[in-house]
Amino acid sequence: MLPRVRRSIRSKFLLVVLVATFSALAVAGTALLVYDLRTYRQQWIDDLLTQAEILGRASAPALAFDDPKSAHDNLALLKARPGIRTGIIYNARGKPVARYGDDTQAPGLPESDGVRVQGSELVVFKRIVENDEIVGTVYLRAHHELMPRLIDYLSILGVVMVLSLGVAAAMSMWLQAALTRPILAVTRAAREVMERRDFSLRVHKNTEDEVGYLVDAFNAMLAELGRRAEALEASNRSLANEMAERERADDELRTLNVELEHRVADRTAQFEAANKELEGFSYSVSHDLRAPLRGVVGFAEALLEDHADELSTEAQRKLGVVRHEGHRMGVLINDLLAFSRLGRKAVQRGELDMAALVRSTWSGLASEREDRPVELQVGSLPAASGDRVLLGQVWVNLLSNAVKFSRGRSRPQIWVDAISDTKEVIYFVRDNGAGFNPTYQDKLFGVFQRLHDANEFPGTGVGLALVQRIVNRHGGRVWAEGAVDKGATFYFSLPKEAMDGTV
C-alpha cells in the first residue's frame, strides 16, 4: 500500500479522505459514547433515586401504621421495572418490613442515604421521612446495564463508520477523477517529453481551476522550451559554420605568413649577399687601389728627393701637387675602408665613461688646433654602454668637425653635453662655427655628401656617414640643427637599455 501511495496522487487523495472521515467519526463517536454513557448512568441513578423516593412516600403510612402488607404491595409494583433486582423496606428500627426480588445479597441493616456502584450494580438507600420523622428506609438494588448499551453503541458506530467510509471512498473516487485526470494528463505529457525530447506535445485543458492554470502554464513552458531549443540549435549551427570559416581563414593566414617569411628570408639573404658582395667589392677596390697609389706617391717623393737638381721649380711644384693629391687619395681610401669594415665588425659592448672618452679624444686632436686655441666646455655626461673604439671614433669625427668648422671664428668655442630621459641619453656637440643651410640637413649624413667647399673645409665626406652608421648599430639616432654662420649642433642618442642592433 505505502509504495503505491507514494507513487500516485489518487491513492494519496483516497487515503486522505478515508483517514479524515475515520478520524472525524471516531472522535465524534467516542465523544457521543462517553457523553451518552455518563448521561445514561446519571439517568439510571436519578431514576433509581426517584423510585426510592416514590416508594418511600407511598410506604410512609404503611410504616407509620405498621402495615407490612401495604408496604409489600408497594414493592410488588417494581415488577414493572425488570432492571431493579431487589427492593427492601425497613422500618424505623431497621427491621425489614417488606422484601421484593432476590434479597440474598440484601444487607441486614439499612445504611445511610446514598447511591453506590457495586460492579455492574447500583445500590440506593433512601430514608423515609414523614412529619419530620424518620419512619423507615428504602433499599433498591438495580442492574446497571452499561455493557449491553456500550455494545449496542459500538456496533452502531461500527456500522455508521463502515457506511461512511464506503460513501466517502465512493465520493472521493468520483471527485478525484475530475481532479486528477488533468494532473495525470500533465504527468503523462511530461514523461513523454522527457523520454522523446519532443517539445511539440500539448496537454488538453478541460478544467478552469488551478489545474487548468497548471495545464496552461505547462503548455506555455513546453512552447518556450521548444523555441529555446530551436534557437539554441540554430545558434550552434551558425557557430559551427563560423568556427570552420575562421579556421579556414587562419589556415590561409598561416600559409600566407609562412610564404611571407620565406620571401622575407629570401630577400634578406639576397640583400645580405648583395651587401657583402658590395662591401667585399668596395674593400677590395679600396685595398687594391692603395698599392698603385703608394707607388705613385712613393715615386713622386723619390723624384723630389733624388732628382731635385734636375727639376725646375715649376716641375717641383707640380710634382708636390701630385704627392699631395696622392696623400689625400690614401686618406680617402682609408676612410672608405674603415666605413666598409664597420659593416663586418661586431660591436664590443662595455661600460663607458663618456666624459673621460671625450677628454682623451680632445687631447688626441691637439695637432689639429695647434695654430689656434679652441675653447671646450664639457657638461656632466652620463656613462654609456657601447663599443669603446667605435664610440671613440664618433667623438673624434664630431669634435674634429667642430674644430674644423669653427676655425674662421676669432674665438672658437665648443660645448659638449647630454640630456637624458627614461629611455635614452642624448649627447650633443655644439660649435659657434660656419653652421649649415638647414635645407640640406638630410644630406649631412650621406657618404661623400659635402655642404662646403673642400678647399675651405678639407675632408673626405665620409665622417658623418660613419657616425650615423656607428650610432645606428648601437640602436640610437643622429640628427643636427644649425644655420649658416650661426654654428651647428650635432646630436646622437643611445638607448639606456642597450639593444644589440645590426644594420
Partner: protein, 196 residues
C-alpha cells in the same frame, strides 16, 4: 387527593405530586385477611402512637385553631392507660408546626379547642350520643368499638391478625369539614362512605 398540609416544605409537596400516580394503583389493593384475636400486649401504646400519627394525615379547617401558634389538642375520654401512653408519645412532638397537647375529657364536656377526640372502649356506649355532643365541630372522632362507624365515629380501631388496624368513615369526616389524606385511606383496613 393532596395529602400535604399547607405548611409542609415545598420539597415534599413536589414529591407528593409524583407519588399521587402510584397511590392510585395502590388504592384498593388491601387484602382481606380478617381474623378475630385477643388485644395484643402493648396495644395501648400502638393505638396511642397511631392517634398521634393520624394528626399528620388530616386537614382541619382554619377555623378549628384559635391562632397560628395554637396547639393541636387530642382529647381522651376514658382509656386512662392510653392517655398516659399518649402523653409520653406527644412530648416534644410537633405536627404541622403545632405542638401537641393531650387533654383528659369528661363526656359532654365542651369540645372547644379539641381537634381529635378518642373514646375508649369503656366509653363505647356513648358513641351513639356523639352526634349531639359534637354538633358540627371539626373534631376527628376515633373509637375502638365494633360498628362505631355507623354511629358517627370517623376512625375506628380494629385488631386483625394480632395487629392494630383501623377503618375509616369518610363521609362522617367530610361532614365535619375534615379532609383525610388518601395515603391514610390507603392503609386503612376499610373505608366507608364518600367518594375516594
Amino acid at each position: 387527593m393532596d395529602a400535604v398540609t399547607p405548611t409542609r416544605p415545598a420539597r415534599l409537596r413536589l414529591r407528593a405530586l409524583v407519588w399521587a400516580g402510584l397511590t392510585g394503583l395502590l388504592i384498593g389493593s388491601g387484602v382481606e385477611c380478617r381474623a378475630q384475636a385477643e388485644p395484643a400486649a402493648g396495644e395501648h401504646a400502638v393505638k396511642a402512637a397511631f392517634l398521634y400519627r393520624f394528626a399528620g394525615y388530616v386537614d382541619w379547617p382554619a377555623s378549628a385553631f384559635a391562632g397560628a401558634a395554637a396547639p393541636l389538642t387530642i382529647g381522651v375520654v376514658g382509656a386512662e392507660p392510653l392517655r398516659t401512653e399518649l402523653q409520653e408519645v406527644v412530648r416534644g412532638r410537633v405536627v404541622a408546626d403545632r405542638s401537641v397537647e393531650v387533654r383528659k375529657l369528661a363526656p359532654g364536656e365542651p369540645l372547644a379547642g379539641v381537634h381529635i377526640l378518642f373514646l375508649g372502649r369503656a366509653e363505647a356506649g356513648r358513641v351513639g350520643a356523639l352526634r349531639s355532643w359534637l354538633q358540627d365541630a371539626p373534631v376527628l372522632i376515633v373509637t375502638e368499638a365494633d360498628g362505631a362507624l355507623a354511629q358517627g365515629s370517623m376512625i375506628n380501631f380494629v385488631v386483625l391478625d394480632r395487629r392494630v388496624r383501623f377503618e375509616i368513615a369518610l363521609d362522617a369526616a367530610e361532614k365535619h369539614g375534615l379532609r383525610l389524606s388518601s395515603r391514610l385511606l390507603a392503609v386503612a383496613q376499610k373505608v366507608t362512605g364518600g367518594t375516594p
